[in-house]
């Protein structure tokens, strides 16, 4: 009986918990459970979800990408300056940040796969480098329409309205970022679960040497995983710029830890016990619900961190108690 309860809580605990949280907030605030608020929650986590998908992919190959937050920051200002400083066409505005994200991923992969620095340390170093680049590039200023430079001149460009629609527009009454997010979640899930590359990535993460001795080109797999992580972070950066309409300095800094938290909450979803896209999405949704609901209850912004941390502890406890029992 006790064992079955544990099994149940392991498999469905996270979902049950979200259900309870939703019920709790709905009872306390009549506005909470309305379609417009729920869509708001989804829109608020769309950027986070992109970043978290990247982290999930790096964890799938048994790596860890700490540089995603900085990558969001860099691509955010890159996107904004493409329009405001250089008045580039929309295609360049969208493609340049993706290239930057891929380049950061490639740098990570080079350090990890070729130089053989442990993942956590290599991406930590790259996190600093990328963060420094983005501040050096903007001289520490946020980028906004026709911004004034230090020498008194003004930037020539403004945000492209078509570009802003990506972050602010709606399609069939649904915010466009939410649509993008759902596509990304479904796409990444299918990719990891049903494609050859996804399987090779999962197996590489399961036991790199055994995968290698089965003929998997594990270094190539790991390289692509880091590139994917960088690209997903850069999409997060593009969405961020389009959402706020300016290039905020250090925009991605808080996103790293939120993304990591979402991924680890995801470990406990359906008893996966390892990184998985659906779990990551559920983790991101939980984050969004908590922040939204607590804000409605007039809990201070700082206090929500305590609750986020406690939820993460809960999810990790369920996961690791189960994993250590399974081993025993």
């Amino acid at each position: 009986m006790n064992n079955r309860l544990l099994q149940f809580s392991y498999k469905y605990g996270a979902l049950l918990f979200i259900g309870l949280v939703v019920v709790f907030f709905s009872l306390n605030n009549e506005y909470f459970f309305t379609s417009s608020n729920l869509l708001d929650i989804l829109r608020s986590i769309s950027i986070l979800t992109f970043v978290a998908i990247g982290v999930t992919i790096s964890l799938t190959v048994d790596g860890f990408d700490l540089s995603v937050g900085s990558t969001v920051s860099l691509t955010t200002v890159a996107t904004a300056t493409m329009m405001i400083w250089y008045e580039m066409p929309l295609a360049v505005v969208l493609i340049a940040p993706l290239v930057i994200g891929a380049a950061v991923g490639l740098l990570n992969a080079f350090l990890i796969v070729k130089v053989r620095i442990p993942d956590l340390l290599a991406t930590l170093a790259v996190m600093y480098i990328v963060s420094g680049i983005h501040k050096t590039y903007t001289k520490g200023y946020s980028i906004y329409n026709n911004m004034q430079f230090q020498d008194g001149t003004k930037a020539p460009g403004v945000m492209n309205p078509d570009f802003l629609w990506i972050g602010q527009g709606k399609l069939f009454g649904i915010p466009f970022p939410v649509i993008l997010m759902v596509l990304a979640v479904v796409g990444a899930h299918i990719f990891l679960k049903y494609t050859r590359f996804g399987r090779q990535a999962t197996m590489t993460g399961g036991n790199e040497e055994a995968a290698r001795l089965s003929g998997v080109r594990v270094r190539r797999v790991r390289t692509w995983a880091y590139i994917a992580s960088g690209v997903f972070a850069s999409i997060g950066g593009i969405l961020y710029t389009a959402r706020v309409g300016s290039g905020q300095i250090d925009a991605g800094a808080p996103m790293l830890m939120d993304a990591v938290a979402a991924v680890f909450v995801g470990y406990s979803v359906f008893g996966a016990g390892r990184p998985n896209i659906i779990g990551t999405f559920v983790g991101a949704v939980l984050t969004g619900i908590l922040i939204n609901g607590l804000t409605m209850l007039h809990v201070q912004y700082y206090t929500t961190d305590i609750i986020k941390g406690a939820v993460l502890v809960l999810a990790l406890t369920v996961t690791f108690v189960h994993l250590s029992r399974r081993k025993a």
């Binding site: 494609t195 050859r196 197996m203 055994a210 995968a211 290698r212 001795l213 089965s214 003929g215 080109r217």
Partner: protein, 504 residues
């Protein structure tokens, strides 16, 4: 020295899960004597030594020093009586980033005895003094990870001296050493003898056993079959005692027409474990490479498969050069490896049987990058049936299967690839009898299908039963080659332990 202080094990018995490992074994070592303990794999010598050093308890029997009965329930008890073991895995016993002196004093530091402040100068002096006792001049401030393997061994021996060892078990200390290094070790053993320390010496190399031992005891099937002064026994007697009247195992050897040369290896080498190996395998042929543990078989298989880089040499498959820079290249060239470390390298224990079986052939099973679930499942069901893999379902994590069935998965994953050459490294290790027979059958079928099989093993009986040709490997080189039926187990064991010198 003093016979009254003899360390004596009497009538020791031990069984594991109902299977008897030791039956009424007597064994003794005197101070100032080297007593060699010999036996084939599984004869019971490690079990006996584990009981002596406190790692296992015995089911029956007594251990005493002189007239005093000892009660050894843990390694700490054994050490308190001055009984120490220097294990073969020297790397796991030393802390790599500590100095020689710190490593030698580790047990004392860990015990928390003595003053609270470390007097490093005094510790260094003491370590130097102990090393000097065995004639070694290893700098005590050098870090352990900068030492050679032979030096590490010496440090471990010095460490037991620091703990005032009276009896030392040396478990295959010479296996990883070169001949010169081994000679130096024998000098140290002589020094220990002179200081009245009793040594139990475990080794597979018979000539050196004869050279350094005072007494020789041979075990077989959990019993002592020979125990004589070393001067009174000939090498041939020892070999016969180790093998005994070997009961015939069943090998389903089918005669297969042997075709043209398929796999050619020329002068492949890396480090001192593989020193220029030449061999060929023809279609339909099973070639066994036999050798003792540490002969370089695993290293050889990894070189051929591209898992480790080779320093020189060429590999050809059907005339095409097939030097592999990575396992992926080897697979593409048509080589498959079933590695010795099954759970770490052969299969992914956390992944399902289904996913393990399909990993090398995902390309065949997928369309535009998407894996076809029905094709994958069909392939897995087919393999499970063909190889007789016992599993609740194809979705079962492979780690839950028995050793033999895990091995079938490790073999099965290659069956549908285009592999022409199959390398098996100790495929029957930790596998039960029934699964063994299945594995032999599968290997026979591969040969029947015109594949080439290279079978690396330390089980000589398997090589004699299965192989069309047997190559003997010793110290990283192939020293002899025999056709099926032209060789006895005694000869194999002789060349595997003695190398090239001819049988006297």
């Amino acid at each position: 020295m003093n016979g009254a202080l003899e360390l004596e094990m009497k009538n020791i018995s031990k069984s594991f899960a109902g299977v008897s490992a030791l039956e009424g074994v007597d064994f003794a070592v005197r101070p100032g004597e080297v007593h060699a303990l010999l036996g084939a794999n599984g004869a019971g010598k490690s079990t006996l030594m584990k009981i002596l050093s406190g790692a296992y308890g015995s089911d029956a029997g007594t251990i005493s020093i002189g007239d005093r009965r000892l009660s050894i329930a843990s390694p700490a008890d054994a050490k308190a009586e001055g009984i120490h073991c220097v294990y073969q895995e020297v790397d796991t016993s030393l802390v790599p980033h500590l100095t020689v002196a710190e490593n030698m004093m580790l047990d004392r530091i860990a015990a928390g005895k003595g003053p609270m402040w470390m007097n490093w100068a005094a510790i260094g002096r003491e370590a130097e003094a102990v090393l000097a006792r065995i004639g070694s001049r290893i700098p005590v401030r050098r870090r352990a990870d900068e030492l050679t393997l032979a030096e590490k061994q010496i440090v471990l021996i010095a460490r037991v001296l620091v703990q005032e060892a009276k009896y030392v078990i040396l478990d295959e200390p010479t296996a990883p050493l070169s001949l010169e290094e081994a000679d130096r070790l024998f000098g140290i053993m002589d020094e220990l003898k002179r200081q009245g320390i009793g040594i139990v010496f475990i080794s597979h190399r018979l000539p050196e056993v004869k050279q350094v031992s005072d007494r020789i005891t041979v075990m077989r099937d959990g019993k002592v079959v020979l125990s004589e002064p070393a001067a009174d026994v000939a090498t041939g007697d020892i070999v016969r005692a180790m093998l005994g009247r070997s009961f015939e195992e069943e090998y389903p050897k089918t005669t297969v027409p042997i075709g043209e040369t398929l796999f050619e290896v020329e002068d492949i080498a890396a480090g001192h474990r593989v020193r220029g190996v030449n061999l060929t395998v023809r279609r339909g042929e099973i070639v066994a490479v036999v050798g003792l543990v540490g002969a370089g078989k695993t290293e050889l298989s990894r070189l051929l498969f591209g898992a480790d880089p080779a320093e020189r040499g060429t590999v050809r498959i059907a005339g095409r050069t097939a030097n592999a820079a990575s396992p992926a290249d080897a697979v593409r060239a048509g080589i498959a490896l079933v590695p010795e470390e099954r759970r770490k390298e052969g299969i992914l224990v956390g992944s399902s049987v289904l996913h393990n079986l399909s990993l090398p052939i995902l390309r065949q099973l997928s369309r535009i990058g998407f894996i076809s679930k029905p094709a994958e499942r069909g392939h897995a069901e087919d393999m499970i049936g063909r190889l007789g893999i016992r599993t609740a379902s194809s979705g079962q994590p492979t780690g839950f299967l028995s050793g033999g069935n895990q091995q079938k998965v490790a073999i099965g994953k290659w069956m549908a690839t285009d592999a022409e050459v199959f390398l098996f490294d100790e495929p029957t290790k930790g596998v039960d009898v029934g699964a063994k027979r299945d594995i032999f059958r599968i290997i026979g079928e591969l040969a029947g299908a015109g594949k080439g099989v290279l079978y690396l093993t330390c089980e000589f009986a398997e090589a004699l039963g299965l192989a069309d040709r047997i190559l003997v490997m010793c110290d990283g080189a192939i020293v002899k080659s025999f056709d099926r039926g032209d060789v006895t187990m005694e000869e194999l064991l002789y060349y595997a332990s003695a190398g090239k010198e001819d049988l006297a």
